[in-house]
């Protein structure tokens, strides 16, 4: 510790630059991870907000709620109790003169079932009539107000925005919560069809109908259009970034150590044990990486505060902690590589002349 701190104190510029480099790497990885998480979350925000464990769909829908239709017959014997709810999904384009059109997901709910009942609003009130809707706050960001009348697709019927809710996104599109009867209208289907899906807070919810199948929430989410592809792309990007950062940081720490060999040779000649020098090298690497990491975290936190809401970012502390620990281990690895050299440093090499 003594040697490593004294050296950092003496060579402020050199070590400042190295810490700066580590800060930037940490910052880059954190921001990229948060962006990836933010995007992933926009796929699932709405589903997450319902707190459901399983979802029942038509078995031929390819696990897509948009493609699933459940008939009255199929749920004849199913008891839709308080921890279950119907959802009717329809993709819509909203229109209002003077506002940009929005591609959105209309989700029809039954107002006496838990999804509708548990909906938390940021303003306004819940859906009370068939022509009322509660919409994701993206609409608010885009200039829509409570009381605004909107139309769907090419239909003439007007719906009134009576409430805004947060974190209502499905497959990145903002969600419009309305009445399930309106879902039937939008889909142009009759009362034979009750919903696209039944969601349940129970993991083991099963219907006795062969045409319906229960999926776990995670199985359902992984089949959301584009979700898995998007996530694996980001995972690979971040993994490659981590590996390359690992190499860059390791190389820097390696060069640092090599530059110190002459000093270490003198100390070895004087009988200072190799383990003291190894300790100094490792503690220095950890000091550099940890301080770089801490500054990177502070920068990330500041970014989180000033980032406009339109940029989807999610600061998932457990995952970012894992990333941070990975970086510290990287630094440790980088400082371990030259240890062989320290252990074999030849004191005679500096004596010459």
């Amino acid at each position: 510790m003594f040697l490593s701190f004294k050296e950092i104190k003496k060579e402020k510029v050199r070590y400042g630059l190295i810490i700066g480099m580590i800060v930037l790497i940490c910052y880059l990885i954190f921001i990229l991870t948060s962006l990836a998480m933010g995007l992933a979350q926009q796929n699932t925000d709405a589903i997450d907000s319902w707190n459901v464990k399983s979802i029942v769909l038509d078995k031929d829908s390819n696990t897509s709620m948009a493609q699933s239709l459940i008939t009255k017959d199929e749920v004849k014997k199913t008891n839709v109790t308080s921890d279950k709810a119907y959802i009717g999904q329809a993709a819509v384009v909203t229109k209002k003169s003077g506002r940009t059109n929005e591609s959105a997901q209309f989700l029809g709910l039954k107002s006496n079932q838990f999804v509708a009942k548990n909906l938390t609003l940021t303003s306004g009130h819940k859906v009370e009539k068939a022509n009322q809707v509660v919409v994701d706050d993206k609409f608010e960001t885009d200039g829509y107000k409570l009381g605004d009348k909107i139309k769907f697709n090419s239909l003439d019927k007007e719906y009134k925005i009576v409430g805004f809710t947060k974190n209502a996104k499905l497959n990145i599109a903002p969600v419009i919560y309305g009445n399930i009867s309106e879902w039937q209208n939008l889909k142009n289907i009759n009362g034979q069809f009750v919903a696209s899906a039944i969601v349940s807070k129970k993991a083991n919810f099963k219907t006795d109908n062969k045409q319906l199948k229960t999926y776990s929430k995670s199985a359902f989410i992984s089949k959301l259009p584009g979700y898995s592809a998007q996530n694996s792309t980001f995972t690979f990007m971040i993994a490659f970034l981590m590996i390359i950062s690992l190499i860059v940081i390791a190389v820097f720490l390696y060069i640092l150590t090599i530059q110190k060999i002459q000093n270490y040779a003198v100390l070895r000649a004087q009988g200072i044990p190799a383990k003291t020098l190894v300790g100094a090298t490792i503690s220095q690497s950890i000091t550099l990486v940890v301080s770089g990491l801490l500054i990177g975290i502070i920068l990330t936190a500041i970014t989180a505060l000033v980032m406009p809401a339109a940029v989807p970012m999610s600061f998932n502390i457990p995952i970012l902690s894992e990333v941070g620990i990975g970086l510290v281990l990287t630094g440790l690895l980088g400082s371990l590589i030259p240890i062989r050299i320290i252990l074999h440093v030849d004191p005679v090499s500096v004596i010459g002349g």
């Binding site: 040697l3 000093n263 003198v266 000649a269 004191p347 500096v350 004596i351």
Partner: protein, 229 residues
């Protein structure tokens, strides 16, 4: 009392036709309380002799014994401990760690060798004698060559070694300082009962020596006549 003994030492570098015979059949004994001077021109094998004596390199043939113990038979750890506890090295160059102040050079030693070092008071006295007591907060890069060398000498004496091995300790010093360093090494030998071995081409140190050896093309001869000259 014999402290350091080199018997029949030969040292070769390289192999085949490029093999050089740097030290030839060297027999050398250093006793506590004596200042031994080894004089020789550049390239005569002085540094090689000193590093072999200090256990930093192994001779091609022959035996080095420190206080009766064969250096060859020691483990690396024991050799480290021997250098730290028993030997004070003053190297020809690069003695000091560039990112530690003069004061911290001593602190570093104290962290590794906690006991039996000079007391703060004795260190002050030594630094004053070497005329470097005002430089304690300076880095080696801020000191002249001579000042660096004197700090290196103090650094070597700080651990109160039984044997001091010094390689050209006066190379960068003017005559006045040479006399001071000569006196310090002489006092060290006589009063602290230390075995001091100095290799140098600096004849100005001869007057302080108890024994003067000459080394020429790897051969060493005792030549105490030089003291009279």
């Amino acid at each position: 009392m014999t402290t350091l003994q080199l018997s029949n030492i030969n040292k070769y570098f390289g192999t085949g036709s490029s093999r050089v015979h740097v030290l030839r059949d060297i027999n050398f004994t250093a006793k506590k309380g004596e200042l031994n001077l080894v004089i020789g021109p550049s390239g005569s094998g002085k540094s090689t002799f000193l590093t072999i004596a200090g256990g930093l390199q192994t001779p091609s043939t022959g035996e080095v014994e420190l206080e009766g113990q064969s250096v060859k038979s020691m483990s690396n750890k024991q050799r480290d401990a021997m250098r730290l506890n028993k030997i004070g090295f003053v190297l020809q160059a690069y003695n000091l760690i560039p990112y530690l102040t003069v004061k911290e050079q001593f602190q570093l030693v104290k962290k590794v060798k906690k006991e039996h070092n000079l007391t703060n008071l004795s260190l002050e006295v030594l630094l004053k004698r070497l005329d470097i007591e005002d430089l304690q907060n300076k880095y080696p890069g801020e000191l002249s060559g001579g000042q660096n060398q004197r700090v290196a000498i103090a650094r070597a004496l700080y651990t109160r070694p039984d044997i001091v091995l010094a390689d050209e300790p006066t190379a960068a010093l003017d005559s006045e300082r040479v006399v001071e360093v000569g006196k310090i090494l002489q006092t060290l030998a006589r009063e602290q009962n230390t075995a001091v071995i100095v290799v140098t081409h600096d004849l100005r140190l001869v007057e302080f020596a108890d024994n003067v050896y000459q080394i020429m093309d790897g051969q060493m001869t005792l030549n105490n006549n030089m003291k009279l000259a």
